[in-house]
């Protein structure tokens, strides 16, 4: 065999970007399982349709850019974006919602900026926010927990099978009657509440669970487990997620006045409701759009934690992970500028 000239280093780890992305995708499974068990097949249909649209859009964009399609699809980055957006969308979202979201995520937020590695904003969150602002009705209609559906005794396809779920997602089957099938989320209730003590609120509405929201606490736990797995596999460092969760908890604790009607809810409620854990372990850890140094990631994560609480407590939206992440994406270059680590031999 002829000798070749290759520059050092000659050794290399077996880890690849594709395998990192695949690990992230796998780590979402516990959370997806909890959502599916709790809310029905709707999350799964979201994810399947998202993946189909994402890969098709990615292939189209790569082709337009005259680059090898197989090579870029294999990096699995579109797959992860699709899964994250699929999880974030309300279960049983219709196909055109998903397609629109994926178009903004893959084409606008990623490829128009130069493709993987060059996007200043988290693509899944760009897609989500575009949908939330454009289609508020569809985007705020979250499925009711299955156990409550049966309690309320709604008739018809209140618990669709997997096949029926795809029918609903493609709008071949009508969405079951809105009352009962969909329901306000715990964070919605918290947002709308202006009279009840937190404890009374929890008593009144069955959507609350032991710590966070019903089902939501299990989903959050699932994403926490997935996140800890990625941390263990050294896919990312603790700095971003932990500082976000700590900041959110601290602010929740400060403004939790024992549970008055003005209260923002306990730290546990905030940690185990809505997209908190998904955001902490899967969204803000997107390395492309976050700050680069560990110190920078602490600031980045804290900023997101603070913004989440501020918007949940005083803003117009019940949950705010996407807005918080996008706002801090803006700030990432500035944070990088001021948090360059001290190089060896520099004082």
């Amino acid at each position: 065999m002829p000798l070749v000239q290759i520059t050092s280093p000659h050794a290399h780890t077996s880890q690849s970007t594709s395998s990192v992305m695949m690990l992230v995708a796998i780590a979402t499974l516990p959370g997806i399982a909890a959502l599916t068990i709790g809310f029905g097949w709707g999350t799964l249909t979201n994810i399947v349709l998202s993946i189909i649209f994402a890969l098709a859009l990615e292939a189209g964009a790569v082709r337009l850019r005259k680059q090898p399609i197989g090579f870029y699809l294999r990096d699995n980055s579109a797959l992860v974006t699709a899964i994250l957006l699929g999880i974030a969308l309300p279960p049983y979202a219709s196909w055109w919602i998903i397609l629109t979201g994926m178009f903004f995520a893959i084409i606008i937020a990623k490829h128009l900026y130069g493709g993987l590695g060059y996007n200043p904003f988290n693509p899944a969150m760009v897609g989500y926010v575009v949908l939330l602002i454009s289609f508020p009705v569809e985007m705020t209609r979250w499925a009711a927990p299955l156990e409550l559906v049966s309690e309320l005794g709604t008739s018809g396809v209140s618990k669709p099978t997997l096949i029926e779920s795809f029918g609903i997602a493609l709008r071949l089957i009508e969405l079951p009657t809105i009352d009962g099938f969909t329901m306000a989320t715990p964070l919605d209730l918290l947002r709308q509440n202006d009279a009840l003590m937190i404890s009374d609120l929890k008593q009144t509405y069955p959507q609350f669970g032991a710590q966070g929201g019903l089902v939501w606490e299990w989903a959050n736990l699932g994403f926490l487990i997935g996140g800890l797995f990625l941390l263990y596999r050294k896919i990312y460092t603790w700095h971003g997620p932990v500082s976000m969760l700590v900041t959110l908890s601290l602010l929740a604790a400060i403004f939790y006045d024992g549970g008055s009607s003005n209260s923002g809810g306990s730290p546990m409620l905030h940690l185990f409701s809505g997209a908190t854990m998904l955001g902490a372990w899967f969204i803000l850890t997107d390395p492309v759009s976050s700050a680069v140094s560990n110190k920078g990631r602490i600031i980045f994560g804290s900023g997101i934690g603070a913004l989440i609480f501020i918007i949940r407590q005083w803003g117009n939206y019940p949950d705010s992970v996407a807005f918080a992440v996008l706002l801090m994406n803006f700030a990432a270059p500035l944070i990088d500028h001021y948090t360059q680590p001290k190089t060896y031999g520099h004082s």
Binding site: M1, L3, V4, Q5, I6, T7, S8, P9, H10, A11, H12, T13, Q15, S16, T17, S18, S19, V20, F71, D75, S77, G115, L116, G117, Y118, K234, I235, Y236, T237, P287, V288, S290, V292, S293, N294, D336, Q340, P341, K342, T343, Y344, G345, H346, S347
Partner: protein, 622 residues
């Protein structure tokens, strides 16, 4: 247990060291031909002192040091010099360089048989001289002449002498076997170093994957009374610390052992620390005690493409081909490259006739399965694994970004100069980006830009100096002319002067005038294009006044005799026409750009002459 510090980052690649550790060091033998590059060290190349056809003996100096930063080369075995020419040498550039080629005779006859010397009786200058004359350069990496590193000022400001037994690169075991089998010689070398640099403490740093050598080293060090050698209380310790790449980098080892960081841009000596390689210490022992020049070294030959990986005592100049043959290299196996050095920082060889030199610690012949060819690079997702791995606490992902955009200033702001090119970032990169290659290229671009800037600066200084000189000469010329004119005017006045007093006054006035105009000329000299106008301005007053006065006088005279006036006008017009024609012919012969202007002048003079003639004729007619 002494405290050791941790360094930032680092990686744990598979060590692959056991393969080559099974056997004792083996003498590689005398190859038929030895190829000795004259530049095996940093600094000026040695200058050959032998001719083609000369017979040389083992240990004979064949190339002598040139200048201070240089070391000589010695013949590793006896034989005949058959060529002094450019050959491929072991250098990342892959360029050829001057080599002395010796065809060995196999007799291995010493030029001067090794003797034994008591180094404790020698003074420092003699020791340094011995080290230099025996061709010793750092055997770890760069090959810096050791004598320069050891030629201390008095008194020595070195407090800590560090011996680098880290050998953190995978595969390489040459220092490991050296510590295992030559600890006595190593301790002697350390003793000589201690006498030279007079440290307060001697630290032999060893990674804990070589724990088997520690006891032997401690015993060997106990044989020497370091305090007696340095003349002050001096401790000597073997220190082990956790295995991590790149702990063996000089800066990293210093931080591990002392907790101090070498300030950027300075040498360890600024912290009172001197670092030496183990092979160098053994070579010093050989040189000083046994009078044996540096003619061989220990080199690891390993990798799955060789059947018997092991460590050889190799004569310098031995072709890599010879070593590979000795260790059962299978060229037809899927070996894709040959690396001189380790898998992290070594460079590939394109020619197996390249010789082993003073810095060759390893020849690595991996198979494709062992060290696969790099797959195509994917996009950087800024995952930050590289920043986690960087021992210099740099942000490799940012450096990569700036390197792609050729933002040299940003690269400098992010301290690219502090990158030690250890390869840890490339090793961990999940996108297979050849980061180190980008940094090398960027460093070269920065060097090139600096060189260009320096050159431009130099050119500007030269241009300014030339401009100043030209201006000065111009000013001097003008001043001289003014002075000449003034003198002539004064002389004229003095000759015409009826009154000597008035003449003296006129001369004085002329001198003042000349001085003044010379000053003005000098001031104007800085703006050369204004000079003609300025000189014109100083000249114009007088001639115009004079001409006016002359004409007034002529008119007065003309009133009395108009015909004579007209006659004179015709004559002067003729004279002017003649002059203008002369100027035109001159201009035409030299192809002056003002030819047209001269033609116009001739026409004008012609018409004036015609007018004057007409006027005269008219007058005559009346």
């Amino acid at each position: 247990m002494r405290k050791v510090w941790d360094i930032h980052g680092g990686i744990h690649p598979p060590e692959n060291k056991t393969q080559s550790l099974e056997h004792a060091i083996e003498f590689a033998g005398i190859p038929a031909q030895l190829i000795l590059p004259v530049s095996q060290h940093i600094g000026a190349a040695a200058s050959p002192v032998v001719q083609v056809g000369d017979t040389v003996l083992k240990g004979q100096c064949i190339a002598e040091a040139v200048g201070a930063v240089s070391v000589p080369i010695h013949a590793p075995s006896s034989g005949t010099v058959t060529a002094i020419e450019d050959r491929p040498i072991a250098h990342p550039s892959g360029l050829d360089d001057l080599c002395i080629v010796i065809d060995t005779d196999g007799k291995d006859i010493w030029h001067q048989p090794p003797s034994t010397r008591d180094f404790t009786q020698l003074d420092k200058a003699t020791l340094v001289e011995l080290i230099r004359n025996h061709g010793i350069a750092g055997m770890g990496g760069a090959g810096f002449p050791t004598s320069i590193k050891l030629n201390m000022r008095e008194p020595s400001n070195i407090k800590t002498l560090i011996l680098n037994g880290t050998e953190c690169e995978p595969y390489i075991t040459s220092d490991h076997v050296l510590m295992r089998e030559q600890s006595r010689k190593l301790a002697q070398g350390i003793a000589i170093l201690a006498k030279l640099v007079q440290p307060e403490e001697i630290l032999l740093g060893v990674e804990d994957n070589k724990i088997d050598v520690v006891a032997g080293l401690q015993d060997a060090l106990k044989q020497h009374d370091f305090s007696a050698l340095t003349g002050k209380p001096t401790s000597a310790e073997v220190i082990t610390f956790p295995t991590k790449y790149p702990s063996g980098g000089e800066k990293q080892l210093i931080e591990i052992l002392t907790g101090k960081q070498v300030p950027t841009g300075s040498l360890p000596a600024s912290l009172g620390i001197a670092c030496q390689n183990l092979g160098t210490a053994v070579a010093i022992s050989d040189a000083v005690i046994n009078d044996r020049p540096l003619i061989s070294r220990i080199t690891t030959v390993t990798g799955q493409a060789v059947a018997q990986p092991r460590n050889f005592e190799v004569l310098l100049g031995t072709p890599v081909e010879y070593l590979l043959a000795r260790s059962g290299y299978n060229a037809s196996s899927s070996s894709n490259r040959l690396v001189m050095g380790g898998p992290m920082m070594g460079f590939t060889l394109l020619d197996i006739t390249m010789p082993v030199v003073k810095t060759t610690n390893c020849i690595l012949a991996p198979t494709e399965a062992e060290l696969p060819s790099p797959p195509p690079a994917q996009a950087c997702i800024r995952c930050g694994l590289c920043a986690e791995a960087c021992p210099a606490s740099l942000l490799p992902q940012q450096l990569f970004w700036f390197a792609q955009g050729k933002e040299l200033e940003k690269l400098e702001q992010h301290n690219i100069a502090d990158c030690i090119e250890c390869g840890a970032c490339s090793y961990v990169c999940p996108s297979n980006i050849p980061l180190v290659q980008y940094y090398r290229a960027s460093k070269a671009e920065i060097r090139q830009r600096d060189a260009d800037m320096q050159q431009a600066e130099h050119a500007k200084v030269r241009f300014d100096a030339r401009q100043e000189r030209l201006d000065r000469l111009e000013a001097e010329k003008i001043a001289a002319r003014q002075a000449r004119q003034a003198k002539a005017a004064a002389n004229k006045a003095a000759q015409a002067g009826q009154d000597p007093k008035a003449a003296a006054v006129a001369a004085a006035l002329a001198r003042v005038g000349a001085k003044k105009s010379a000053l003005e000329a000098a001031q104007n000299a800085s703006a050369p294009e204004q000079i003609p106008a300025a000189t014109l301005a100083t000249d114009i007053d007088d001639p115009v006044q004079r001409a006016l006065a002359k004409r007034a006088k002529q008119e007065q005279a003309g009133a009395a005799n108009p015909a004579a006036v007209l006659q004179r006008a015709v004559e002067s017009a003729e004279a002017r026409l003649e002059k203008a024609r002369l100027k035109l012919t001159n201009a035409e012969t030299v192809q002056d750009s003002n030819v047209d202007a001269f033609k116009l002048a001739v026409d004008k003079c012609q018409s004036k002459l015609n007018q004057a003639r007409a006027a005269l004729d008219a007058h005559d007619a009346t």
